[in-house]
């Protein structure tokens, strides 16, 4: 299940989606709004996506994760709009027969989503300034495009 949502992420619902009798392991990763980044204070984040492409890109990641690891279920949700401190902006829940597959796939999914999904965050700093984050070291899509 893949979803881009403007609402708070319901982690219990995600867990219920992936928890299955044939799975012996469930891993849930949450990315949450952190208050301090290199000493600067964040009050909230705003996320924006190229929705249609982000959905397709995350679908592609799920397909690739299922090819690489033996997964029972996979659910990926990214929140858009304002995300308050401590709240989740992204959730990845995966289940597998044995824990190695779920841990490795979950790790790969979040790492790769952060590199390639066309989604951006805007920092709202405590001093009142705002800033779209466009990392200099980003490699988004370069492999896919070559």
């Amino acid at each position: 299940m893949i979803q881009l949502t403007d609402d708070a992420i319901d982690t219990q619902y995600l867990l219920a989606l992936v928890q299955r009798p044939e799975a012996g392991a469930v891993v849930l990763f949450l990315g949450t709004t952190r208050q301090f980044t290199k000493g600067r204070e964040t009050v909230q984040l705003t996320y924006e996506a190229y929705r249609e492409m982000a959905h397709r890109e995350i679908e592609r990641l799920e397909t690739e994760a299922r090819r690489r690891w033996s997964l029972v279920e996979c659910a990926i949700v990214h929140r858009l709009g304002v995300v308050a401190l401590g709240e989740a902006s992204v959730a990845i829940a995966v289940s597998s027969s044995h824990r190695d597959d779920a841990f490795e796939a979950g790790r790969w999914l979040i790492d790769t989503l952060k590199e390639t999904a066309p989604i951006w965050k805007q920092e709202h700093w405590a001093d009142g300034s705002m800033e779209w984050i466009h990392p200099v070291e980003s490699t988004a899509g370069r492999e896919a495009a070559e």
Partner: protein, 81 residues
């Protein structure tokens, strides 16, 4: 041909709009589109240089051709998660 380019996040703010229409010769590629974007909105130049361009929701290389009617977007370095 006229191509509409979607803009997001910092690029949308720099250009002060969410889409730009650029005029390109028929058979132009993504590299030419990138140059045309920087010409029509100079303040976008440095960010456009380190952005990807998508064609019909797929990342495209500078050598990829663009056809009239394609859905094109400028994808500045991403920061989701």
């Amino acid at each position: 041909m006229r191509v509409t380019v979607k803009l997001f996040a910092g690029a949308r703010e720099l250009a002060a709009r969410s889409e730009i229409v650029v005029e390109l010769p028929p058979g132009a590629d993504v590299g030419e589109l990138r140059a045309a974007l920087a010409d029509s909105v100079p303040q976008l130049g440095p960010l456009a240089q380190r952005s990807m361009i998508s064609v019909n929701s797929e990342y495209a290389s500078d050598a990829s051709p663009i056809t009239e009617g394609d859905e094109v977007a400028l994808i500045p370095p991403v920061s989701g998660g």
